[in-house]
Each structure stands twice: as structure tokens, then as C-alpha cells.
């Protein structure tokens, strides 16, 4: 029972177990301390957003969670096991979808890469790819190459590729940072729906405070030089969330003010 069912309002039914645990994690890169003694518990099924001024180590923290970096000191654990290399059940969505997709493979081919690598039976691949592409709203684009798709579609495709990993945790690095406002809001709602359906744990890095509040069960803010936690806010806004009413909720505005003040203070 380490994957508790989720109520509509986002609270786990059972006392949640910790899925991703940072214990006194320090990372030095090129003689500089990027992250300093970061401790953080992410509960199973939780949607955690990380915000912070640029250069505060948000992306680095995410890469540590993904196993793409190894801590200089301290430990990152996933389901109680030390995270020494990337895991197949932890998927990462990169911001630069244009570089993360394989340009020589079609949409279907890009999703297929995951299925080929984890030994998914070849006979059922096409059906599985269809399901995944339908899930992210790309059912009629299986034969298109990434270069023939819009930015929003490419990011949807990258998400489909990550879902193909059937991840227990989804790590997203400013996934909508390069998209226009309308596309962005649409994708926010789609991600919320996908995550609610899969019950995956999410760490979502963004520099957009409103996005963090809108999506998250919890928002942490990092302070720069070196990166450490400066603020840790639970978000009690009701779910399912709505682009209009949630954003007009007085609670939403209060949280936005609090995070805004935090960012301003951290940059001062």
C-alpha cells in the first residue's frame, strides 16, 4: 500500500509513505556548491512544485531526483532505495522538447523507443502507442515527425513518451516554459487529469508562481547560492481545479502574494 488512492481534493486516503527522500543532499559542480544540505520528503502521489529565482538550483534538484546527478554528500532515495542511476519507473520531461525528441522518428516512433527498450511485446506495441497518443490528445498525429508538429504538440508527445514508462514518479522541468499562455493553460489541465488518473508522484519545476499554486499540493521555494529550501507551503485549494475559479479564490491570491514576496526577498 505505498500507492494510496487519492480523493478528489488531492489528499491521500492513507497516511502517505515517502517516495522520494532527499537527506542532507549537497552537490558540488566545478568547485561550486550548487545545492547545500537539502532535505526534502515527497510523499507518494504528491504533486510538488519547486519555484525559485533563476540559478537557485531548481533544475539541479530535479536532476538529482532523476538520478542524472549523484549527490556529493547526502543521499537521494526512491522508495527507500538509494538513487544512483536513472530508473525506468521515474520519467523526466525536459523543457526543450525540440531537443529531447528524436527528429528522425515519427510521433509513434518516439513513443516506441521506450517500449522497445523495456521489452514491451512487439505485437502489442501499436495498440499501446495508439492509447498513449490518444491520452495526450495526439491520436491523428502518429505518423508525423516532430518538426511537423507545433511546440505544444511536441511537448504532449514527450509526455506520452514518459507515460510509456508507466512512471511511479514524473519529473517535469519547466515543461511549459516555452509555450504560449493558452497552450500552457490547456496543458496544465491535461497534466492534472493525467496525473490524477495515473496517481504518479510529480515534481514540477517552474518559474511561474501561479502555475505552481494552480498545479501543486505543495510548493517549495529555493534560495540561491547555494540552493536550499526557503519556503514550504501546503496548497489547500480544492480539486478539481479550474482555470477561472481557482485563480480567483482568495486563498490563491494570498498564496501568490506570499510566494511573490519570497521571490522578491530572495533576489534582494
Amino acid at each position: 500500500m505505498n500507492r494510496p488512492a487519492r480523493l478528489q481534493d488531492g489528499h491521500p486516503l492513507t497516511p502517505a509513505t515517502t517516495q522520494i527522500a532527499f537527506t542532507d543532499v549537497t552537490l558540488n559542480l566545478g568547485g561550486k556548491t550548487i545545492i547545500d544540505k537539502l532535505s526534502l520528503d515527497v510523499r507518494s502521489g504528491e504533486f510538488l512544485c519547486i519555484i525559485g529565482a533563476s540559478g537557485c538550483g531548481k533544475t539541479t534538484a530535479l536532476r538529482l531526483a532523476a538520478g542524472l546527478y549523484r549527490p556529493t554528500a547526502g543521499q537521494v532515495c526512491f522508495d527507500g532505495q538509494p538513487m544512483l542511476t536513472p530508473r525506468r519507473d521515474v520519467a523526466i520531461v525536459f523543457q526543450d522538447y525540440g531537443k529531447a525528441l528524436l527528429p528522425w522518428r515519427t510521433a509513434a516512433g518516439n513513443v516506441s523507443l521506450v517500449l522497445e527498450s523495456n521489452g514491451f511485446p512487439a505485437a502489442q506495441r501499436t495498440a499501446r502507442i495508439d492509447t498513449l497518443l490518444r491520452k495526450v490528445g495526439l491520436p491523428h498525429h502518429a505518423d508525423k515527425y516532430p518538426a511537423e508538429m507545433s511546440g505544444g504538440m511536441q511537448q504532449r508527445l514527450q509526455i506520452a513518451r514518459c507515460l510509456a514508462q508507466e512512471p511511479k514518479a514524473l519529473l517535469m522541468d519547466e515543461p511549459f516554459g516555452a509555450l504560449d499562455a493558452m497552450t500552457r493553460q490547456g496543458l496544465q489541465d491535461e497534466v492534472l487529469a493525467l496525473v490524477a488518473a495515473s496517481r504518479a508522484t510529480v515534481i514540477f519545476v517552474t518559474h511561474d508562481l501561479e502555475e505552481a499554486i494552480y498545479l501543486g499540493d505543495r510548493v517549495i521555494g529555493l534560495l540561491p547560492h547555494p540552493g536550499r529550501i526557503g519556503i514550504d507551503l501546503p496548497i489547500d485549494l480544492p480539486r478539481p481545479r479550474d482555470q477561472l475559479t481557482t485563480r480567483e479564490d482568495p486563498q490563491f491570491l494570498r498564496l501568490r502574494r506570499e510566494l511573490f514576496d519570497f521571490i522578491k526577498a530572495s533576489e534582494a
Binding site: A66, L68, T85, P86, R87, R88, A91, I92, F94, D96, G98, K99, A100, L102, P103, W104, R105, L113, V114, E116, S117, Y145, P146, A147, E148, Q165
Partner: protein
């Protein structure tokens, strides 16, 4: 009004006509030059008696065998050196010392070791083709988008999948470009070896014509080699367009 391809043919046609008129006007008598009409007649003769076709077959066979052998070795090393920085540094001096040696300078050794014939010629061509392919495929692998390598890590692809599904496809447009260059090198080196020493192929054909005091035939061979080279490049261009059509919309290096 005139299609661009026809326009490109105008200059060569004008030159040929000019040469023809000039050689007739001056009643050309030479061991080195011949009127274009005589060259054309010699070419028709060499094609119809099959001698130039046999020579072409010999030259192309050696050139291709050398290209494939040198190309595969170059590709393997290029990919390995592109991926393993430590190995690259270890071999740097060795490679940079071997690479400037003109392939033709190996002729004396190759001749003693392998004698006349295909084997010697193929070896020299392979040596010449190895370097451009090694250098360019190493650069192609080093130039692969780092994010793609990270995706490969994040998905925990096996080393084999990493090479066949990420590295080779990502580097392929540039590797193909390297092969296109190497095709030219292979033809040049093969003909050079034949002219210098090896009694087969188009190069030997030129030498025989020269010694027979047949400038028309000699020039016919030269023109023929030019046509063969043009045809080869056209085939490669066509293959490139066919292979990297739609998928090459992004990241096309050339």
C-alpha cells in the same frame, strides 16, 4: 526560359565547340591534345570494344572495396573516439601522425607486401578513405545533441540500443556527408595508384594511351573519369535526398 540544368551545360558545350574550331583552324598536331571530335570518336571506340568498360569496372571495384574497408574502420574508430574522450586523447598523437601521410607514399611498402593487383590498390584506397570518415564521424558523434544522450540515460537504454537507436541515427546525416566526400577520395586515389604503378583500371588505360601516342584516347579516358565521378556524386546526392527526406527537416548539417 532556359531550365537551370540546361544553363549549366552551356559553358562546357561552348568550350568544346571553341576547342574544336580552334584545333581545326590551326590544324592541330600534338602528342598532348586532340580535337574534341577525335576524343569523342576514341571514346566511342573504347566503349564499343569494351576496354574502357573493363577498366571502369576494375577501378570502381577497387575504389568501392577500399571505401568500404576504410570507411568501416574509420566509422568504428570515429564513433568510439567520439564517445570515449579518454580513448580519443590516448590516440590523438598516433592519429595526427598517421593522418598526414599521403596515401600514395605507402605505395612502395604496399607493393612489396602485396604485389600488383587489387589487394594493393584496395589497401591504399582504404588508408586514404579511413581518415576523412574517422575525423568527420568523430565530429558527428561529438556534435550529437547532449539532451538526446541524456534521454538515452534516463530511459536506461542498453549500450547497443544507445549506439543503434540514438548515436548512429543522430549522426547519420553527417556520416553520410563523410561518405560522399570519401567516394571522391576513393576514385582519385584508385586512379592515382593505377597511373603510378598498378597495371589495371582507368589510370593504367591513360598510361597505355599515352605510351601509344594516342592523345585522343588519353583525353577520352580523362573525360570518362570525369563523367564517372559526376555520376557517382549524383547517385550519392539522390540517395541522400531519399534517405533523409522528411526526417531531415531539423538538424540538417549541410
Amino acid at each position: 526560359m532556359i531550365p537551370p540544368r540546361a544553363k549549366a551545360a552551356l559553358l562546357p558545350i561552348a568550350c568544346v565547340l571553341g576547342l574544336e574550331l580552334w584545333s581545326r583552324a590551326t590544324h592541330l598536331q600534338s602528342d598532348a591534345l586532340a580535337p574534341p571530335s577525335a576524343v569523342a570518336a576514341a571514346m566511342v571506340e573504347a566503349v564499343s570494344d569494351g576496354s574502357i568498360l573493363v577498366a571502369t569496372r576494375d577501378t570502381l571495384a577497387s575504389a568501392f572495396a577500399g571505401l568500404v574497408a576504410g570507411g568501416l574502420i574509420g566509422l568504428a574508430f570515429g564513433i568510439a573516439l567520439g564517445l570515449l574522450t579518454a580513448l580519443d586523447r590516448l590516440l590523438e598523437v598516433t592519429i595526427e601522425t598517421l593522418r598526414p601521410i599521403p596515401s600514395v607514399a605507402l605505395l612502395p611498402i604496399a607493393l612489396i607486401a602485396l604485389g600488383f593487383g587489387y589487394r594493393m590498390e584496395i589497401t591504399i584506397v582504404a588508408f586514404a578513405c579511413l581518415w576523412p570518415i574517422l575525423i568527420l564521424s568523430r565530429a558527428a558523434v561529438k556534435g550529437i545533441e547532449p539532451r538526446l544522450m541524456e534521454v538515452a540515460r534516463a530511459l536506461r537504454l542498453s549500450s547497443r540500443d544507445r549506439v543503434t537507436k540514438i548515436i548512429i541515427p543522430a549522426a547519420l546525416p553527417r556520416i553520410f556527408l563523410a561518405f560522399r566526400l570519401a567516394v571522391g577520395v576513393a576514385l582519385i586515389v584508385a586512379v592515382t595508384v593505377e597511373i603510378a604503378i598498378n597495371p589495371i583500371g582507368l589510370g593504367a588505360g591513360i598510361m597505355t594511351a599515352q605510351q601509344a601516342l594516342r592523345p585522343d584516347l588519353m583525353l577520352a579516358y580523362l573525360v570518362w573519369i570525369g563523367l564517372v565521378g559526376y555520376a557517382l556524386n549524383s547517385v550519392m546526392m539522390l540517395a541522400q535526398r531519399h534517405l533523409f527526406g522528411r526526417a531531415a527537416l531539423v538538424g540538417e548539417p549541410a
